[in-house]
């Protein structure tokens, strides 16, 4: 691996201590049996069809035009959007604006091992997926020859990262007042055999990907949806699944996306309300100041008149 001269590097042969703990060498079957307890609940006490509680807020980064923060227990994502800027090094005129997306993991985001600073293929894949999912909702024809930067940073990853990133990007774009067709929300499921895990955690996603048996259904599906227009913006499936399963899961995902939608709407409406109140307050203050100035002017004028008399 090429050495990174721009950062401080540790010793090359360092390995995470988790490698030497008893938990590390568990087999697939052991892990599989741990996922669901006798009462049919998952490790964190959720039912199979229960998504994690979600915390959403906008205006997270003061320096950005628009930004958002989404937390779903272990998954924490920050997204910020900046003003459109001219595309550098471009020799042709493009009639539609471009979206530039970058998804990055924090070095400490994953439980298992430390992420390297150098962007890896997973980050690249997530960036492309994010661009494809957000692309249909942005009115790109309105800013020809310009590009909008969307940066997503995953502070902590515990499954459903792409879904969280897409939802966060949708909110940040709306927060930045970028013209959009609709609010985009996303949701994901993991499938292991006949079990469907809605809003999977890292462990569930991991197991769904490494199933040793190719004949049983396994995989992860992430879907982005434009809820007002009832359209699917992006559908991403990894793993092998039969068609009935995919159809069934699509319906479930649609419902899940719909559930997130009001939360985003509520947040956005809140900001619009605050903005209007702020504007009202400012204009009132301005009027008060003007009135004061006027009084002073009159006073001054009358004093001049008095003096001259």
């Amino acid at each position: 691996m090429p050495l990174d001269y721009k950062r401080f590097n540790g010793p090359e042969d360092s390995v995470s201590y988790k490698r030497f703990t008893a938990d590390y060498l568990k087999s697939y079957d052991e892990l599989h049996s741990e996922l669901i307890d006798e009462t049919g609940h998952r490790k964190d006490g959720r039912a199979m069809d229960e998504a994690r509680p979600m915390y959403v807020r906008g205006n997270f980064v003061s320096q950005a035009k628009g930004s958002s923060y989404i937390e779903m227990r272990g998954t924490k994502v920050v997204c910020s959007v900046f003003d459109p800027r001219e595309i550098v090094h471009q020799n042709e005129f493009s009639t539609v604006g471009l979206l530039f997306c970058e998804v990055k993991f924090a070095p400490f985001a994953c439980k298992r091992q430390r992420q390297s600073h150098v962007p890896d293929s997973e980050e690249k894949a997530l960036s492309v997926a994010l661009r494809k999912a957000v692309g249909p909702t942005v009115c790109c024809q309105l800013f020809a020859n310009f590009q909008i930067d969307i940066f997503v940073y995953i502070i902590e990853s515990d499954g459903s990262c792409l879904a969280a990133a897409i939802t966060a990007a949708g909110l940040a774009l709306a927060n930045a007042a970028v013209p959009m067709f609709d609010v985009v929300t996303a949701s994901s499921v993991a499938i292991i055999g006949d079990k469907i895990f809605i809003d999977p955690t890292e462990d569930e996603e991991h197991l769904a990907m490494i199933s040793p048996d190719t004949n049983t259904n396994h995989g992860v599906i992430t879907m982005a949806r434009l809820n007002g227009l009832m359209q699917i913006a992006d559908f991403r499936q990894i793993g092998s699944l039969d068609i009935e399963c995919i159809l069934k899961v699509t319906d479930i995902l649609e419902q899940e996306c719909q559930k997130v939608f009001p939360k985003i709407q509520k947040t956005l409406v809140g900001y619009v309300k605050n903005g209007i109140m702020e504007q009202k307050r400012l204009s009132e203050e301005g009027k008060a100041r003007e009135a004061k100035l006027k009084d002073k002017m009159l006073e001054w004028r009358s004093s001049i008149v008095n003096n001259s008399v």
Binding site: D4, K6, R7, F8, N9, G10, P11, D13, S14, V15, S16, Y17, K18, R19, F20, T21, F60, V61, S62, Q63, A64, S67, G74, K76, V78, C79, S80, F82, D83, E102, K104, A106, P107, F108, A109, C110, K111, R114, H117, D149, F151, V152, Y153, I155, E156, S157, D158, G286
Partner: protein
Amino acid sequence: MTEVYKHIHPSKYFNDYINQDVRPDGRDFDQQRDVIININGITSADASAIVKCGNTTVVCGIKLELARPKAEEPDIGFLISNVELLPLCSSKFRPGPPSDYAQVISNIVSDIVINSKCVDLKDLCVVTDKLAWVIYCDLVCLDYDGSIVDACIIALITSLKTLSLPTVTYDNETEEVKVDTGVKIPLQVHGLPVATSFGIYHKLPRNIILADPSAYEEEMCGGIGANLIVCWNKGLFCGIQKFGGCNLSTEDEKRTISLAKQRCKLVEQVIETCIKNGEVK
């Protein structure tokens, strides 16, 4: 209206405030922004802290790894800290490898932490010449609004203070390593360095010292970053750095040093209370 004015006449806008002895965000010249600390918010890291100084937000996450110590220094471990200025924290930074400025900040933070000897690297050695801890401290800026070094140092020290190392058993014959996460020993942190940034604004007849400058103020004081960083470590003076900008008189220097000393005590209290509250939970 003021927003427009700010963009059309940036230096006049700023000057108008300074002439009224107040800063654009309503602070006095010596007044610092509030510090907010949250510990262990990130469960995937071995220790973590989120620090907010005003709008500036820095997240520090520590990951522990094991490695063979260097052959020339067989009894010491590693403490590696990096500062990442993400493109999402400000429009000043672009994606790609770290900019020169990010490297400078990384260097300052690492220098302060290593020189203040707050962690004895010998404590990190498990078996001489065989096994030692590597503490990776990754500092990530989520919101860049000036005085980044202050926030970085607070985040780093707070997370180091909350870090505990799992016990390791090393078999000399089979070279087998076993880690028991059930028993953890807190890491000894000896000092508590606190950095304080200042901006120096050129104005006649006297230059103005701005404590804890915001990103906008830093820009007005000549480019990116603070002009002066003063560092105290529990009543010991441990460093002063001046970066460009205009000159600094001796009285002003003395004043900044005493201001930094006061702030050191304050930050120390904030960190102590925060850790105490965290333990209660």
